[in-house]
């Protein structure tokens, strides 16, 4: 499974991309987030508040109950903030 992390999730986890083989009991996005949180402090911190985590599987937004396959590209990131200059 190809994992991608963006913005502060990338910064907290410490990498932008990695290839992992979750165990067979990781069937959904929620399962994956639980499993990743056990991989270390950075992961646990990045995934602590799931209300600010968004997920794309194979470049489409999905919900936390979405079923995963070993060959999926799974991206985790915060809510997007593009398309404007009026930040702050």
């Amino acid at each position: 499974m190809q994992l991608l992390y963006f913005a502060w999730l990338r910064a907290k986890i410490g990498t932008g991309e990695e290839r992992l083989e979750p165990p067979p009991e990781v069937a959904t996005v929620t399962d994956l987030l639980d499993w990743l949180s056990g991989r270390g402090e950075g992961y646990a911190e990045a995934l602590a508040d799931r209300s600010v985590v968004r997920v794309a599987v194979n470049q489409e937004y999905v919900g936390f109950d979405y079923p995963l396959s070993p060959e999926d590209e799974v991206a985790l990131f915060p809510p997007v903030t593009g398309g404007r200059g009026d930040v702050g």
Partner: protein, 155 residues
């Protein structure tokens, strides 16, 4: 047409290219997003735009297609930059051209509203103590929800 690029763009040249030779166009609405110099927390005011290559292009095409399905548009252009941007630099350009004024204006507003909640970009502002990631605003999702609520009328 969509473009995802590091480079600056020329709004006047893009507007000309879009309408050249198409005499059906009666109105062209556009929106340019610019980096404000808010000097956040004593920083330079510069920001870096991170994005998700591949998914970005895919979502921009989806947004363009959705606008073309909803309004009688003759041409649509979305340009979104990524990388480091200084205050005053242009970030994003959307253009919607139509035979009809209202379609151009509404199409343009739809494109920028959707782009803000759908396109995978994240802003990092430079501050005196390094920098911070910009939070999404609830207002953005409300602006998109408005278009969803309007579906019954449009479809």
């Amino acid at each position: 047409m969509i473009k995802v690029q590091r480079e600056e763009f020329d709004v006047g040249a893009e507007l000309s290219a879009l309408s050249r030779g198409n005499h059906n166009i009666g109105g062209i609405a556009s929106f340019v997003g610019v980096v404000r110099d808010i000097g956040a927390d004593g920083g330079s005011g510069a920001m870096t735009l991170e994005h998700y290559p591949g998914m970005t292009e895919r979502k921009l095409v989806e947004i363009e297609t959705e606008a073309l399905a909803r309004w009688p548009l003759d041409a649509v252009l979305i340009i979104h930059r990524y990388g480091r941007l200084e205050p005053g630099e242009q970030i994003v350009l959307v253009i919607a051209a139509s035979a009809h004024r209202a379609a151009a204006l509404e199409g343009c507003q739809f494109l920028i509203d959707w782009l803000k909640t759908q396109a995978p970009f994240w802003k990092f502002e430079e501050t005196a103590d390094g920098g911070k990631w910009v939070d999404a605003r609830s207002g953005d999702e409300l602006a998109t929800a408005r278009w969803d609520a309007a579906d019954d009328r449009h479809r």
